[in-house]
Symmetry: C2
Subunit: 255 residues, 2 copies
Amino acid sequence: MMQAIQFASRPAPAFQLRETPRLPDWQNRCSSCSLHQLCLPTGLGDPEMHRLDRIVTRRRVPRDSNLYRMGDPFTNLYAIHLGHFKTHQLSTDGAEQVTGFQMAGELLGMDAISTDRHHCGAVALEDSEVCEIPFARLQELFIEIPALLRHFHRTMSQEITRDQSVMRLLGNMRAEQRFAVFLVNLSTRYVARGYSSTSFRLRMSREDIGNYLGLTIESISRLLAQFKRQGWLQVDKREIVILEPQTLKALAAGT
Amino acid sequence: MMQAIQFASRPAPAFQLRETPRLPDWQNRCSSCSLHQLCLPTGLGDPEMHRLDRIVTRRRVPRDSNLYRMGDPFTNLYAIHLGHFKTHQLSTDGAEQVTGFQMAGELLGMDAISTDRHHCGAVALEDSEVCEIPFARLQELFIEIPALLRHFHRTMSQEITRDQSVMRLLGNMRAEQRFAVFLVNLSTRYVARGYSSTSFRLRMSREDIGNYLGLTIESISRLLAQFKRQGWLQVDKREIVILEPQTLKALAAGT
DNA sequence: CGCCCCTTTGAACCTGATCAAACTGGGTGG
DNA sequence: CCACCCAGTTTGATCAGGTTCAAAGGGGCG
């Protein structure tokens, strides 16, 4: 615990969103996006999606760059179009806490609404693309498109329940169960996106996983070795193959 | 950890909201409520507050009764008018996780919006009163009162940042720091409500505190004893007097 | 090839859990 | 009124899971 922050030996590039390429408009369509049933426009018809399209800008975010940092003023929400992110908080004493890993279709930045400043930072775990959504303009659309508002509320509420599940994980579970929950959770989210439930690549370092789960990097390493030894997983670097999904689910459920 | 649930020897009364007294209308006014600058109508003018009044019903909630249970269908949000609550999750294996303690002016039930079912239960820690807010009707008001919608978004966002702070607490801090954070947090919230920052009564049991902080009841007891021994606190049952607020704040900040 | 970062593995240690028992105060019934 | 009971709490002793410290292994990339 109390993991001190390591100042990245590869220093975080001074990434400025306004300098990043804006992709051409024709690529910039919710209606032609494979994620529109997972993402913000869930449940909208074509005309409404079109109105959303008009306020959204697609941006590239290079690996290891900050989409936003803790304390940055809040102007935009971001929907992940492609890639993976982590969100994290830094406390004054230099300790980091990873608060989540996000993948395509998920929304970033909702924690910033309350104070108009970001309460956590978001870092791309690989080269990624986001849809930048100016919150002021989104608020205008809320009034005109009730279904959009309703889905936005569901999304925020989902974020709350997600965070509370992590609280249960950190408050109640031992290391083995935490790690099983982590793997099963990733698996579930990949299935929802049409990927394999049993075979995927971890986009985050052991350190990030450990930090997220309230464990040290050594513990994560040992857990991976143990799960492998038991025949529940194949592990090769960041490539994971789940061999015993039922066992992992049972572990995760605590039974 | 893995605290098994204790089935209350005082069995939870089969409390039904619809049977509880509805207080007379004249008591049922946001505009005459001392909390309106903390609660949902923050920032509204008198006419808007009046429209909110018309959809809100004040209800009594006896101590130890469930305002709602995990899994209940979602129809209302609740603003606490008087008293204190805890929210908690129960997992299939019988473990409890207390996800928060709420006091006057705070909003309950936002986690239920995403699935139309409550993801945690809310229990009154003392005889309390809530303002029941039918969510369907609130949604209608959102369209008509943009300031209300904006404040609602802030409130949900605040809940997210609050939960993420608890994640940091559970993931990063040792027992002593967790407990200091807990006390400082209560103190801060009481100040915002016009009460003393240094002298208050814990409304929750040691068990609830421990569960919330990811510690055992014995640890809480020892921490109280230690803080007392150090001269930082006076403790008499649930009555707390903070003698060294600066020390506690420093501990909480990890410095 | 050699450097560096990430990861793995081993051994000792420590914090907080667990187990056990005693204490407290409020409520009840004799 | 007192004896008893019971839930909640305190305190002590032991235990163990996970951390910490240390060192070695493995890949990727210049």
